[in-house]
Symmetry: C2
Subunit: 230 residues, 2 copies
């Protein structure tokens, strides 16, 4: 039985990743995190996606982050930067050790349910500059996971970190998602959406998504009006 | 400012580790985890230890473990093995990816408060056979932590995993703790203590502790009566 776990944030990349895993594994489990992120609408989207595309189970793990004030994604008193893509090496939306925490939880769950294939929608081409999206981090994490678990040591299961979007441009990701039949309206990418979930269209994540749709020659169904919100 | 974080379970090893860190760092922060372990008395002991020995701060992070039924330490319907030390390669008290999760949380907090020195009381000599206490795991985790964080990438801080007890026998740990002035009565090692905190004296952890005191030629103050409980 080939089981996989997909880190499913509810964004475009992780949703695409989920559909790729569905083609490669017999059973796909979805793992999301509630870390008091300001863009909580993504958790609702993750639930819809897991249900729509047939996750074997969907877990939402509550994460008790040590220092919410250190990132604009978790500190509501800080503004999410607008039109600032590429302005800083590592932007203030960086959440300390987020993917390390996410993947560690995936390893713990994977070991318990016998799922060695862990999927993450990390991307190192069109990305925000987060250190924990780089291939060298993911390779090192994979090694660590196999050294630090019973299944890794006893050889009954090998953890493999799959990052199928790692070297794709945003345009390629959007095209891939379309080919796999993703309903883009079920996803949410914005770091700072309106209460009704409408994207701001100016944070890094919205700008990257826009680049992707433009490159793929597609229209984003989340853009309900031709006028920007601001 | 040299800041350290110590994983403080409330047991003998982590308490010793804390006192070692106090000699090596200017400020020492204590990190404990509430993962619905059956031996919760250790969290009370961790609080006493942090207060008694001057932790700069003490955090107790709630961990939402994916599969509590997979370990006898978190599944109350399973019995903790008695007098079984060394009987199995990896005993059923193993908690999937526990140290990976613990250390990941330490990295996240460490990055936020500028503490790069992370102390863990892992031991690879007299230990229960857990894969995530081995040196190769700890080395790999350290590398991963530096690759997956902003401070690691920008070079402003380097994470170092310190496991000062790694190659010590239990007897050497007890002697070291005595030399550092540890009040042993403040610690708790038992996996399955009585409601009043009295150790069972037959689980792996109690047996290892007993070996340590015997080797060091000391009496364990936790043994209040000359007769065993069972």
């Amino acid at each position: 039985m080939n089981r996989a776990i997909v880190l499913l944030s509810g964004g475009l990349d992780s949703a695409t990743c989920f559909l790729i895993a569905k083609k490669e594994a017999e059973e796909v489990f979805a793992l999301s995190f509630d870390y008091a992120q300001r863009h909580k609408v993504e958790l609702e989207r993750a639930r819809s996606l897991a249900e729509t595309y047939g996750a074997a189970a969907h877990r939402v793990v509550k994460l008790d982050l040590p220092a919410r004030e250190s990132s604009a994604l978790t500190d509501l008193s800080r503004d999410v930067p607008r039109h600032a893509l590429g302005a800083e090496a590592i932007p203030i939306t960086y959440v300390p050790a987020r993917n390390t925490l996410f993947l560690s939880n995936a390893v713990a769950w994977g070991e318990a349910i016998g799922a060695g294939d862990l999927y993450i929608g990390a991307n190192s081409i069109d990305y925000s500059g987060y250190p924990d999206c780089r291939p060298e981090f993911l390779e090192s994490f994979e090694r660590t996971a196999n050294l630090g678990t019973k299944s890794g040591v006893e050889g009954e299961m090998t953890f493999r970190i799959h990052a199928p979007l790692l070297r794709m441009t945003k345009g390629e990701i959007v095209s891939k998602a379309r080919d796999l039949g993703l309903n883009f309206a079920l996803t949410s990418s914005c770091y700072d959406p309106a209460p009704d979930g409408e994207p701001c269209r100016s944070c890094d994540s919205c700008l990257l998504r826009e680049i992707g749709f433009r490159e793929a020659g597609l229209r984003d169904p989340l853009h309900r009006s031709p006028n920007h919100r601001e």
